[in-house]
């Protein structure tokens, strides 16, 4: 709270400290939305500048980190909405590596984790599956199924109600599962 108040009063070092301390968290949120470094940095910068102008609205009821997380989430969502929506991918768009990844992991033990070498391929596949969802549903699913966040944590980070988070996660999970089934059946 002290840092926030000092920054609001124009203390440059206090604001610099906020940026230094919370950059990793803001980058983590922005990375859920974007994979390009330039876009993540652009979003993160906008988050901090917006946070500075809204410091008056931060009343110290929650943590600065939580407050910044929500600003980051809304800022990134607005950036996504403003950008042109990319066309949905089809099965024919699968690369050889992605085909191999699916081949290799199908029917394997449920506890098996993707290797580091294959993580890029897995991430590409995830983006392909996520492209069938709205940006909001993508976030709900990534936080719950990807980061093991609870419904309550997602609600706090996004500002949505818990029931809304549940609905979004259910809808997203179903769509993604169906998209994956299509990929598996067309191989």
């Amino acid at each position: 709270m002290d840092l926030a108040r000092q920054a609001q009063e124009g203390d440059e070092s206090a604001f610099a400290e906020i940026v230094r301390r919370y950059s990793p968290r803001v980058f983590s949120v922005a990375s859920r939305f974007f994979r390009q470094r330039s876009l993540v940095e652009e979003a993160a910068q906008e988050v901090f500048l917006k946070a500075f102008t809204q410091l008056g609205s931060f009343e110290g009821r929650g943590s600065i980190e939580g407050w910044l997380t929500r600003i980051a989430h809304n800022t990134c969502l607005n950036m996504i909405r403003g950008a042109k929506r990319r066309p949905e991918s089809t099965v024919s768009d699968l690369t050889d590596d992605e085909e191999q990844w699916l081949e290799h992991h199908s029917g394997a033990d449920g506890k098996q984790q993707p290797s580091v070498e294959n993580s890029v391929v897995a991430t590409d596949l995830a983006d392909r599956l996520l492209s069938v969802l709205s940006p909001e549903d993508q976030q709900a699913l990534l936080m719950i199924d990807g980061e093991d966040a609870s419904i309550k944590e997602v609600a706090e980070a996004t500002g949505w109600s818990e029931s809304k988070v549940k609905v979004r996660a259910f809808r997203a999970r179903k769509k993604v599962r169906e998209a994956m089934e299509k990929l598996l059946n067309r191989r």
Partner: protein, 158 residues
């Protein structure tokens, strides 16, 4: 759960949050039901790729803080400009165009030669008859001339 389809369970909960016993029941059912086996396999692979995606985070570069602070200073400087100056900056195009228009109108008003105002006589001379007959305004007579001609005729008649 063995005889019950498990697709709803898969859509309702993330696989990671299922207990060992729930997983084994799901697995047992999936062994006997092709539809659910397919759904379970898709859900399992989806969870794997989503976890991989969630682990992909970009770390702040060493220059990020410097960049943000520079943008912040720029924003602060813009906010510290006096209000009148900001008003002028935002409206100077409009004010300039208005000034140019006013100057042009003033020049047209004072510098062009003034035209003689139309008198009653000349107005009457532009009668419908003259227009129809195609007479030029130089040939027109004034009211006074018409009246004096009429009265002169009356006097001659007497």
């Amino acid at each position: 759960m063995k005889d019950k389809h498990i697709i709803d369970v898969l859509d309702n909960t993330s696989i990671a949050s299922l207990s060992e016993s729930e997983l084994s029941e799901i697995y047992a059912h999936a062994q006997e039901c092709a539809l659910c086996r397919e759904a379970y396999e898709a859900a399992r692979l989806s969870a794997m790729v989503l976890q991989s995606r969630a682990r992909t985070t970009i770390e702040p570069s060493p220059f990020f803080q410097t960049r943000v602070m520079a943008a912040w200073r720029e924003q602060q400087a813009a906010e510290n400009v006096p209000a009148l100056l900001r008003l002028w900056r935002s409206s100077r195009a409009l004010v300039s165009s208005m000034a140019v228009t006013t100057a042009a109108l003033a020049a047209l008003t004072f510098m062009l030669p003034a035209q003689a105002p139309l008198t009653d006589q000349t107005v009457s001379a532009l009668s419908a008859d003259s227009v129809i007959m195609g007479q030029s305004s130089d040939d027109q007579v004034t009211y006074d001339q018409v009246l004096s001609t009429i009265y002169q005729d009356d006097d001659d008649a007497r």
